[in-house]
Amino acid sequence: MRLVGGTALGHGDAVRLEDVSIAFTLKGGKRYVAVEGIDLGVMPGEFVAIVGPTGSGKSTLLNAAAGLLKPASGRVTVFSSALSGLNARAGYLFQADALMPWKTALDNVAVALEPQSVKRAEALARARDWLGKVGLATFVDRYPHMLSGGQRKRVALAQMLIRDPEILLMDEPFGPLDAQTRQIMGNLLLDLWAANRKAVMFVTHDLEEAIALSDRVVVLSAGPAARIVGEFKVDLARPRDISEIRLEPQFHALYKEIWSCLRVEVSRAYASGPA
């Protein structure tokens, strides 16, 4: 169902971007506006997926919500207070491998508790527990290079979730994985999220993945100066099974509706430059 006039920006939002524009200075002094006039809020417990063509500044939005990037104008609020510096209430799952290669899976997860001054023995026990939850109980002593791409993502997921952040920011986290692994990881993510619902901002270029996972899909226009061109509510019943849900007629209807909005932008992105 298409939401008219965007989301009503509620005050209870976990994270909220208000009229946010983000610009970069390119080599040679030129200014590149990545996104412009973005209004987007995510409520606690809500799973929002952001889709858009390549170069539409999807990751830029996440980085602004994380505090890794400062918006050129507009403001970012986290639970109604303005964000300054890094967003301490958010966890971030990166697209690229972000594990510390010199630490074992166990240490990578346990170290996430260190800033919270958790005792080492307790941190290790909890890390072991979390690695069990992501299905890596027998891989705790492996170094990242000894794990497959999917296993590394599981470790990263455990590393993010062990801190129990209230906001989850995910930047095409399953992008580098093969199709089957993506579905397995998607189901794992939904299971973990269902057990403890957080506000999620999930960036992907895969519309199917976006619909299967989220409560709401936000479509960004082609860059530069990308804006939100559509928001769609996904009212598919939960719990969902990612590989099954694609077969349902309701899913198809949604896909068609959102795709008709997205395809315009995708073809614009292709027309304006090399992919």
Binding site: N87, Y92, M100, P101, W102, P115, Q116
Partner: protein
């Protein structure tokens, strides 16, 4: 490369090359092919003589004193050079202004052939081990410095951002991200650094000392004792191989997390 030979076959071939080399040396110095053997032997000695002399030296307790001195100098030069290199590498990598200001001086100092410093160090620190340690230090310092500097500067931005998002402060980042990354780079230069520490020690001894392997070789050279020079070189080579093996063992222990070359990626 075409078909790799099996291990035993390879070992046999490697030994064969050595034996052929020794055989050529032997034939050319013992038989009158290039000239009178006595004259040739003055310049080149013979393999049998060199081996005999080496055996004699190794069974003489005196050589162990010299080896001990050289080992001490090497280890001290490495430890001080590495410590200094790590400290300054970190400092400069984390402070852009400092790095920019000192950049020309570091480059100039590194460009200087360090051997010319040996007489100065002998003057400043005397003919004992410390002038050799100083020479080795100037060699090791720059290798480790540049590697640590690089290592800290080239930490993966994703790993860094991830660690920051996990809530790590500057101390946490230093301990969990910068330090291990810098160590990796340092260890990748470990063989070179230890090698240079040894070069500093031996060259220093060679240029002025009363003990150590460099001194032994110099002593033999000054009386045209070619057999003694070759024997000294042989002992030095064995010494270097032993040290290098120890370094490899340490490296394997400390870099256990690193993927093996050619292994699973």
């Amino acid at each position: 490369m075409n078909r790799p030979v099996n291990r035993l076959g390879l070992l046999a071939l490697q030994i064969l090359v050595g034996l052929i080399g020794l055989a050529i040396w032997h034939v050319l110095t013992v038989y009158p092919i290039l000239g009178a053997p006595k004259q040739i032997q003055f310049f080149f000695s013979t393999p049998v003589e060199v081996l005999k002399r080496t055996w004699m030296e190794m069974t003489n307790p005196e050589i162990w004193g010299h080896l001990w001195i050289t080992l001490q100098e090497t280890v001290l030069a490495f430890v001080f050079g590495a410590a200094g290199g790590i400290a300054f590498g970190f400092l400069f990598a984390r402070n852009a202004l400092l790095a920019a200001v000192f950049d020309p001086y570091i480059k100039a100092a590194n460009a200087l052939p360090r051997v010319v410093l040996a007489p100065i160090f002998a003057l400043w620190f005397g003919l004992g081990i410390w002038s050799k340690v100083a020479l080795g230090f100037t060699l090791v310092f720059f290798i480790v410095f540049f590697n640590v500097y690089q290592g800290v500067r080239e930490v993966s931005p994703v790993v860094l951002n991830n660690a920051r998002m996990l809530g790590m402060n500057e101390r946490g980042l230093l301990r969990h991200v910068y330090w291990p990354s810098a160590l990796t780079w340092m260890f990748s230069s470990l063989h070179t650094a230890v090698g240079f520490a040894l070069v500093g020690a031996v060259v220093g001894e060679y240029l002025g000392s009363s003990a150590g392997l460099g001194y032994k070789i110099h002593e033999a050279e000054s009386v045209f004792d070619v057999t003694g020079v070759f024997a000294g070189m042989l002992i030095l080579t064995v010494f270097v191989v032993v040290i290098d093996t120890v370094v490899t063992l340490i490296e394997n222990r400390l870099l256990v997390w690193r993927p093996q070359a050619g292994g699973q990626g």
